[in-house]
């Protein structure tokens, strides 16, 4: 049946292939399950003959055993493996006016920011993470996080799906990749304006207690270049010579209980006070109200 499955997949014309499918369903770390084919014996219909209806229980058992073994009904269950959580746990609320020059004293703001990291929940979560991963440190992690961030965006620009799956969780992957199949993306990282900082840590378990996932929010203030071209090579968004300053709060996640788990990008937090993005190079039609033939369109305000 495994061979038939493979043939079926090939017939579907999946370009991704068996390996990426497997990597989505069974990411690095899970043990390979053995496949068995349950053998169904023919259903025997018989009625108990008259002489055998009143027997002691032991004789009945002996009789049933002699008639043949019965296999239990196997229900085809679909196993699933959760490699990442579905959402950001307890999202970090970035303070207003984070990256702008404030009129408040610089020191006061800095203290407030550092205090946010030292909240009890974050400390608890940090301790839990250190239990499972002794090498974790909130001082060295931001640099690694930035490297993962840059690598992930580079492999998105090159459409290197294998690498992208290992750097980005399953929840983040469709967000990054949707709609980009027939587009060319050019992304490059110019420089980091401020050193990245760990800002928020949370640790939670899903389904069972003890099934721990750790999430760390890193604040990054960087300069990046982004240009998206559509199917025909025409510029859709951004520009290649226009570096933009970007303040981001990126959430990284790791499956702590898995000994082969790695830190991967899980999502971004977009604050409400964020400035609106640049409009795309295209006019879009907004449909107006549907009118009867007798009515006229009123209202050009």
């Amino acid at each position: 049946m495994a061979a038939a499955m493979k043939a079926g997949l090939r017939g579907l014309g999946l370009r991704a292939g068996w390996q990426t499918l497997e990597s989505v369903l069974r990411p690095a770390g899970a043990a390979l399950p053995c496949l068995i084919i349950p053998v169904r014996t023919k259903k025997k219909r018989f009625s108990v003959p008259e002489w055998a209806r009143e027997l002691t229980p032991e004789e009945k058992e002996r009789r049933l055993k002699s008639l043949g073994t019965v296999f239990p009904e196997e229900h085809m269950e679909r196993t699933f493996y959760l490699a990442c959580t579905a959402d950001i746990i307890d999202p970090y609320i970035p303070p207003e006016g984070d990256a702008r020059l404030t009129s408040l004293s610089k020191d006061g703001l800095k203290q407030k920011m550092e205090k946010m990291k030292r909240t009890a929940a974050s400390q608890l979560a940090l301790r839990k993470i250190k239990d499972h991963d002794p090498n974790f440190s909130s001082k060295t992690f931001p640099e690694k996080a930035q490297e993962i961030f840059i690598e992930a965006h580079n492999s998105l620009a090159n459409f290197n799906k294998q690498k992208l799956h290992s750097l980005v969780t399953e929840r983040c992957y469709p967000e990054m990749v949707r709609g980009n199949r027939y587009k060319t993306i050019r992304w490059s990282f110019v420089e980091s304006l401020e050193p990245p900082r760990v800002v928020h840590i949370r640790c939670d378990s899903i389904v069972n207690r003890g099934n721990l996932y750790g999430q760390v929010t890193v604040r990054m203030h960087t300069r990046q270049i982004l240009a998206i071209y559509d199917r025909f090579g025409r510029l859709m968004y951004g520009g290649e010579q226009v570096p933009k300053d970007v303040l981001e709060y990126v959430v990284f996640e790791k499956y702590l209980v898995n000994p082969y788990g790695t830190w991967r990008m899980h999502g971004k937090i977009v604050p409400e006070w964020a400035p609106p993005k640049e409009p795309i190079v295209k006019t879009v039609m907004i449909p107006g109200p549907t009118l009867d033939p007798s009515q006229e369109y009123e209202g050009t305000k």
Partner: protein, 186 residues
């Protein structure tokens, strides 16, 4: 397969139905061009769309396909709306679908800025049936189906070619006489 102590029941990976077979015309929508340099003229968008196995004859459909070849999409839709043939309704639906796909997926800015570059019909799968005549006679009826292919290109429709006049023919003839060379001589 190895049967060991830790057994997992068989898990089926097929969760969706198999899609239809993609023909060459559908695959033309998947080519991606490299990004254009800033000095190049803007490449017009090309959208390929088709409908397969329409219950109509390919020869009858050809007249409609020839009618709208080279028109702008608005003009084509107008002509098809007031055409009495059965295939006109089908082609109109196909054009509206293609327009929708162009605006949504292929970054076409104005939906009226499209014209029909190619429109063709193809033979679909035929099916034989019995046609009953009188006196117990019968004939074998052929139920014909067709495919319809259309290619929309962004931009105004190209101007129609001016008809070839006698003056043009004369010019060509004189040109041909002048371009003769003497062979095998000094």
């Amino acid at each position: 397969w190895l049967v060991s102590s830790s057994l997992f029941p068989l898990s089926c990976i097929h969760t969706s139905t198999a899609l239809q077979r993609f023909g060459k015309w559908e695959k033309k929508n998947w080519i991606v061009y490299p990004p254009q340099l800033p000095g190049e003229p803007r490449r017009p968008a090309e959208i390929y769309h088709c409908r397969r196995e329409i219950k109509y004859s390919k020869d009858k459909m050809w007249y409609l396909a020839k009618l709208i070849k080279g028109m702008s999409i608005d003009q084509a839709l107008a002509q098809l709306e007031f055409n009495d043939k059965k295939g006109a309704k089908v082609i109109k639906e196909v054009l509206l679908e293609a327009q929708e796909i162009a605006v949504r997926n292929h970054n076409v800015e104005f939906k009226s800025n499209l014209h029909i570059a190619e429109s063709m019909t193809g033979r679909g799968r035929y099916v034989k049936r019995i046609r009953y005549h009188g006196k117990g006679m019968f004939g074998i009826m052929k139920l014909s189906r067709c495919h319809y292919f259309v290619k929309l290109v962004e931009g105004p429709p190209p101007p129609p070619e001016p008809p070839r006049t006698g003056f043009d023919q004369a010019k060509e003839y004189v040109q041909h006489l002048r371009s003769r060379t003497l062979v095998n001589t000094l």
